[in-house]
């Protein structure tokens, strides 16, 4: 007895001092500073280059406000001026152009309130191309999954600083899809609020393609390596992630940066990264290479980065990577076989009388379908109005189970190869 209680005591003490306590902190901005944010990366890819201007915003606000009505231009050392036009909150160069090696470029921004900003002059970095991207099975922090590694090599040993972005696209297959759909048509007579009409689907709803962009800063440097060779994990996907359940594609974009651009992104990611309990990094305002032309103490956020760019795409199927393994589950609750309890939820007797036995679930079924919360799967093998006299039991599922357009896109991307 004494022994066990002592043991318990130790555990309490240790839990108290090992796990300590991290709690969310309710925070509102008590001293907001409205500052311009300039995102400007131009590359050696011939295209309409894009520059984004926005403003800082309060924590309680939803999102950033685009800075409109500004004049944006990039100049080079030969006196060429590339003008930018405002387009959906973005500033897009009037003509396609690419950064050339040997030239220096400078960014100029003049906002509608008359303030002007310019960057330091920047040069294009070494043009090193992404040589390969591969997908390997590995594990990370004890979780099995697939990693996407980027490989690159610069024999001149001058690239050194790399930043990555990726766009990943994966196929979604709705598990409870049928070629038919039920639409709700309201009416004003009788107890029923409306009729359900079965009809053939008019658009693709079974196969969709979801695309996500990377939102973290992904950086690597070969500074402490013996040669300028990158073999770097850009993305890791756990084997249970539905993203790789069918077919998956990733486009990895490599930006070779100069030291100061790299340092800017590195610091940005460092001061926003998660902290361990007992060690914190000193946060602070991070100055980039863009300054106000008038007031040097004005805070300007952003970096004008002239990077050499390359990209590569790969595809793989789940079975290529994890043969004979259980595919990841669909991210929504769509039971393949129904237990008795689930049957009550998904198999609904379609009638509207209140005193009937067995009980009617017409209001539930009609309501869920009309609100687009649920989708029809089966129970009436004809087209047209579903009779509501209690002869039909409808099988319905959450909309996401039968219609992938509810959370994804049925547009097959142009690059997609099956």
């Amino acid at each position: 007895m004494a022994k066990t209680s002592l043991h318990k005591w130790f555990i309490i003490v240790l839990t108290a001092f090992i796990s300590s306590c991290t709690t969310p902190y309710n925070y509102t901005t008590n001293s907001f500073e409205n500052t311009i944010v300039i995102e400007a990366t131009i590359t050696n890819q011939l295209k309409k280059q894009e520059i984004k201007l926005s403003r800082t915003y309060k924590f309680e606000d939803e999102g950033p406000v685009s800075e409109t009505g500004a004049t944006v231009s990039v100049t080079d050392d030969l006196g060429t001026v590339y003008g930018f036009d405002e387009e959906n909150g973005l500033y897009v160069s009037a003509t396609p152009f690419k950064a050339e090696s040997g030239r220096t470029y400078q960014l100029h921004v003049k906002t509608k309130d008359g303030k002007s900003y310019s960057s330091t002059a920047e040069k294009l970095t070494t043009e090193t191309n992404l040589s390969e991207i591969v997908a390997n099975v590995t594990s990370k922090e004890g979780v099995r999954g697939v990693e996407i590694r980027a490989k690159s090599f610069d024999p001149t040993n001058s690239s050194k600083y790399y930043r990555y972005e990726y766009d990943e696209t994966y196929k979604v297959i709705a598990p409870k899809w049928t070629p038919y759909e039920a639409i709700a048509v309201p009416k004003n007579t009788g107890i029923a609020p409306g009729d359900l009409i079965i009809q053939e689907r008019t658009k693709e709803a079974r196969i969709c393609y979801s695309t996500k962009k990377s939102d973290a800063i992904i950086l690597t440097s070969t500074n402490d390596l013996s040669e300028d060779r990158v073999d770097f994990q850009v993305r890791f996907i756990p084997s249970t992630d539905y993203a790789i359940a069918n077919r998956y594609s990733i486009l990895v974009k490599q930006f070779v940066q100069n030291q100061s651009a790299f340092a800017f992104y590195q610091t940005l990611s460092k001061i926003s990264g998660s902290e361990s309990l007992l060690s914190q990094t000193q946060p602070g305002f991070l100055a980039g290479n863009i300054k106000s032309d008038v007031d040097s103490s004005e805070k300007v956020i952003g970096f004008f980065d002239v990077s050499s760019y390359s990209e590569k795409r790969i595809f793989f199927n789940f079975s290529d990577v994890f043969p004979n393994e259980k595919t990841p589950e669909y991210p929504y609750n769509c039971p393949m076989t129904l237990t008795e309890a689930q049957a009550k939820e998904h198999m609904l007797l379609y009638c509207f009388e209140t005193d009937r036995n067995p009980q009617c679930f017409g209001f539930t079924a009609y309501g869920a379908i009309s609100m687009k919360k649920s989708v029809y799967f089966g129970g009436y093998n004809f087209l047209g109005r579903v009779p509501d006299n209690g002869t039909i039991t409808l099988e319905i599922y959450d909309t996401e189970c039968g219609d992938c357009t509810s959370f994804s896109s049925n547009m097959r991307p142009l690059f997609w190869v099956d």
């Binding site: 306590c21 709690t23 001293s31 500052t35 926005s54 990370k140 972005e165 973290a216 007992l278 991070l286």
Partner: protein, 922 residues
């Protein structure tokens, strides 16, 4: 005339002669004079010489009398009324005796009951204690130790008298309760009450009184009891007494010395102060002293008077300890059982110390017991420790060995929780000290110390760090006035990060600093007015800033060795304690220090007038082994002056200049074990500081309260700071991440102390500010637009109190209360979108503050009973840390997760933490 009389009674008996003059008559008158004055007056008007000891009389008792033609014996006997003095007259000598009557004839045992003209009527048998001693209850060898109690009377002898008195602690004067007082070979015994008072009925004879306690040294007194009497005794603590930490006021010393900002904490007494998880901790107690702060609960470092964590010199028996903390700073790595005391110099650093700007924590260890084997230990929920001491050459040399270890690792392994099972947290420290007194003029001492920590934060990394220190001292006395000591010390601090992930990025990283110092110091008491201290010291630093070894042979990680650093810091020092007048004392001196950064090394030279970054390197210069890269020198005057208004009130002022050639790199707001030390070199300048201080010190008669007010103003240069998000580990271009700026701090410290009585403790309040300025012509080297801003540890209001109340000698209650302004923090003031993710826009550095900190701890201390025949003496401590359960924010931080900014606050101990510890001694 007032010479000491040593009366060996029996001897006098044999020489007794009847005085013919003893009945001659004199006349005398005195008004309100002391008894001694009255006796002197008799001497002046008569031919008698009177022999006595001044100490027998209380001089504030005044008597009056008018005697006309009285015999000398009548007059003297009147004067001696109400005292326990007797006298006899021998010719023209009057000899006063304490207690005993000098019998002028041998008692006639046969005619005992017959009355004679010369003898009192109801005379009892006179008691000759010498006789009793030799004949009857012999037991003590010491004949000289006879205590006489009461006044021997020729008149009455009831046979049984009352002997009573107080038992007190010889050092503190505190009454001692629950102590056995008994008469040997009898059944007579008693126990002192809460006031230390005892009361015994004893027969009129020589009684051997034994006082027995396991805390105090047993004493035996032979007591000759003549009548009801009082016997107060002072007891000395046994050496193996469980230590009691008393923050030593250095009572009147604090008032007398010329230097300001000095505090001594003695290891005795901190046992009553409630501490976290029952770990007695002398350095944690230091934090309750005004002017000493820490950035947070889990922070290893101290900030003394607005100085950075690296500006404190922590010495254990003269050897530097680089990281005196276990487990991120929750516990200090100094075993409290081996410590004698800590002297903390926050201002007025004596010239013999140098190399750090803000303070010196001079920890002195206990010496072992040269006479017998003793030991003590403690069992707590986190650690257990054992210390023992043994004589090596009896009476000359001793060895003290102590060790402490945690069992947390073992407990973690037994837990069911998988996450906790994988984590690791363990530490231990070992201590050994040898002292040897060779002869009256020479002695040697040696201390060895080792501490080690291992912990893991994530499952695939293991952090380890350790301190090692060895110090040797030879003390030699040239003559009475001149003595010297030679110190040789060696210290090492290292840490290691073992990252064991599954991929090819697994690595092993190590950092190490060692220093070796030799110092010669001399004390020369030139005369009453001048006392000199002078000497020379030299210290060699070796730093290995980092080795990275990939664990996988196919790894692309390159084995990295950042080039080693070497530096030699030497100093000459001289100080004089000059007593100008009794009231004015000047303590002045200087330290001249010189530092050379030594090769082999390659140093980058950056283009003048441009910020240091990889693109402004103009040259790489290579230096050979031991070639001086750069030499810096510093002249460090230290002046302190004291003026004593009276014995209880003084004013002091001081000026100090200090240089520091070594810097701690930490990009955390608080000190952590993986912070690295960097030596000054071509690109990193030494720090320097100046402090002006002024203090008033007063000891009041009321309850012996000690009051002090001290103020200071400090300015420092080349204080190290970092660019935002600086990368400090394994950085070959470290100087490009560093900024050096100016520091400024000031404060007022108030302290009220009461060290005696049932209620004791102290209350301190400090108002202080600490600022830093990082300015440059380049925006990347500018922080907060180049203006002064508060440092991470700027906490203007700091209130702390430590109080202890003793119910009895066995039970006491103690409480700590701490209040501090929340420390500055750089707050997010908005957010922005960049590259598709949300980021936080931060305010100017340290513009806001986290909520205030307060905490109450309580503790109950129970001493084991004082039975003598116990194997070990025990002491229980039950304490509750953070009784109020205050969720003190340790930090508030902001994280970008899935593209959204989230705010978190961490707190270390947000609930009350109860602990029970058991300490024992044998």
């Amino acid at each position: 005339m007032r010479s000491l009389i040593t009366t060996i009674i029996l001897l006098i008996f044999s020489q007794l002669a009847f005085s013919q003059d003893k009945n001659s008559e004199i006349s005398i008158e005195f008004n309100n004079i002391s008894r001694t004055a009255a006796l002197q007056k008799i001497e002046t008007i008569s031919k008698y010489k009177i022999y006595y000891q001044d100490a027998w009389f209380e001089n504030n008792v005044l008597i009056s009398g008018n005697y006309v033609n009285k015999t000398i014996s009548e007059i003297v006997s009147k004067i001696l009324d109400d005292t326990d003095l007797n006298f006899f007259i021998d010719k023209n000598k009057i000899v006063l005796t304490k207690n005993s009557i000098i019998y002028d004839s041998f008692p006639d045992y046969e005619t005992n009951n017959q009355s004679t003209a010369n003898k009192p009527v109801k005379s009892a048998n006179p008691v000759f204690f010498g006789q009793f001693d030799s004949v009857k209850k012999s037991g003590s060898k010491d004949n000289n130790n006879i205590v006489l109690v009461g006044k021997e009377s020729n008149v009455a002898n009831t046979g049984i008298y009352t002997l009573s008195g107080y038992l007190k602690d010889i050092k503190t004067g505190a009454p001692l309760a629950d102590i056995n007082v008994k008469v040997r070979n009898t059944a007579i015994s008693t126990v002192t009450n809460a006031e230390g008072y005892y009361f015994l009925k004893v027969p009129t004879e020589v009684n051997i009184i034994d006082i027995e306690s396991i805390i105090y040294q047993n004493i035996t007194r032979k007591v000759m009891v003549y009548s009801d009497g009082k016997l107060d005794l002072f007891l000395t603590e046994k050496l193996n007494q469980l230590d009691e930490v008393v923050v030593n006021s250095k009572a009147s010393q604090n008032i007398r010395t010329a230097i300001t900002g000095v505090t001594t904490i003695e290891a005795e007494g901190i046992k009553n102060i409630p501490v976290i998880l029952g770990e007695r901790d002398i350095l944690k107690v230091a934090l309750t002293i005004p002017g000493v702060k820490t950035a947070g609960e889990g922070s290893a470092g101290f900030n003394v008077r607005g100085g950075k964590e690296d500006q404190n010199l922590i010495l254990l028996d003269n050897g530097t300890i680089y990281n005196p903390s276990h487990f991120f700073g929750f516990f200090s790595a100094i075993n409290p059982y081996t410590v004698n005391k800590v002297d903390i110099y926050k201002g007025g650093i004596p010239p013999e110390f140098g190399g750090r700007l803000s303070s010196v924590f001079d920890i002195t260890s206990k010496n072992g017991n040269v006479d017998k084997f003793t030991g003590e230990g403690g069992i707590g929920p986190v650690t257990s420790n054992l210390t023992f001491s043994t004589p090596v050459v009896k009476g000359k040399s001793s060895l003290l060995v102590g060790g402490r270890a945690t069992y947390s690792d073992w407990i973690l392994k037994t837990l069911d929780d998988e996450k906790l099972k994988k984590s690791q947290a363990s530490f231990y420290d070992l201590f050994a000290r040898y002292t040897h007194k060779i002869n009256a003029k020479n002695s040697i001492e040696g201390t060895a110390y080792y501490s080690k920590d291992a912990y893991s934060i994530t499952s695939d990394s293991l952090y380890k760090y350790s301190n090692r220190m060895v110090s040797l001292k030879w003390k030699h006395s040239f003559n009475e006035k001149h003595n010297g000591e030679l110190n040789v010390t060696n210290s090492e601090y290292k840490f290691n990060i073992d990252y064991d992930s599954n991929n090819s990025n697994a690595f092993d990283f190590g950092y190490k600093i060692t220093e070796t110092q030799a110092a010669l110091k001399f004390n020369y008491n030139f005369n009453d007015k001048h006392k000199f201290v002078y000497g020379i010291s030299s210290k060699l630093y070796n730093v290995n800033p980092g080795d990275l070894k990939p664990k996988d042979p196919n790894s692309l990680l390159m084995e990295t060795h950042i080039q080693k650093e070497k530096g030699l810091e030497s100093a000459l020092f001289l100080s004089d304690n000059f007593k100008i007048t009794d009231k004015l004392l000047l303590d002045y001196g200087a330290r001249f220090s010189a530092y050379s950064a030594l090769g082999p090394s390659t140093q980058k030279i950056y283009e003048d007038g441009l910020p240091k970054n990889p693109s402004t390197v103009v040259e790489e210069k290579t230096y050979g082994n031991n070639e001086a890269i750069k030499t810096y020198t510093g002249f460090e005057p230290r002046i302190g002056v004291r003026y004593l208004f009276d014995e209880t009130f003084s004013i002091k002022a001081g000026y100090d200049k200090t240089f520091q050639y070594i810097h701690l790199l930490s990009n955390n707001t608080t000190q952590s074990p993986t912070d690295t030390w960097k030596l000054s070199d071509l690109n990193v300048k030494p720090q320097s500081g100046q402090q002006f201080s002024l203090g008033l010190f007063k000891k009041t008669d009321y309850k012996n309260l000690e009051l002090s007010v001290e103020g200071y103003y400090k300015k420092s240069n080349n204080i190290l700071d970092y660019k935002v998000g600086a990368n400090l580990l394994l950085n070959e271009n470290l100087e490009t991440e560093l900024l050096q700026g100016e520091g400024k701090s000031y404060g007022v410290e108030f302290l009220i102390k009461k060290m005696e009585g049932r209620l004791n403790g102290w209350i301190g309040y400090t108002y202080s500010r600490a600022f830093i300025k990082l300015d440059s012509q380049f925006s990347e080297e500018k922080v907060n637009n180049g203006d002064y801003f508060p440092t991470n540890f700027d906490k203007p209001h700091d209130f702390s109190t430590v109080l202890n109340y003793k119910f009895t000698h066995r039970y006491s209650f103690s409480a700590n209360f701490i209040y501090q302004t929340g420390r500055p923090i750089t707050y997010p003031i908005g957010q922005y979108n960049y590259g598709g993710a949300e980021y936080t826009l931060y305010s100017d550095r340290n513009k806001f503050r986290i909520p205030d900190y307060y905490r109450l701890d309580i503790g109950i201390n129970i001493e084991g009973n004082h039975k003598i025949k116990k194997l070990a003496h025990s002491f229980w401590n039950i304490s509750v840390y953070n009784v109020l359960g205050r969720n003190n924010p340790y930090s508030v931080f902001f994280v970008t997760k899935q593209g959204k900014v989230q705010a978190y606050q961490t707190s270390i101990f947000s609930v009350p933490v109860p602990t029970i510890t058991y300490n024992f001694k044998f």
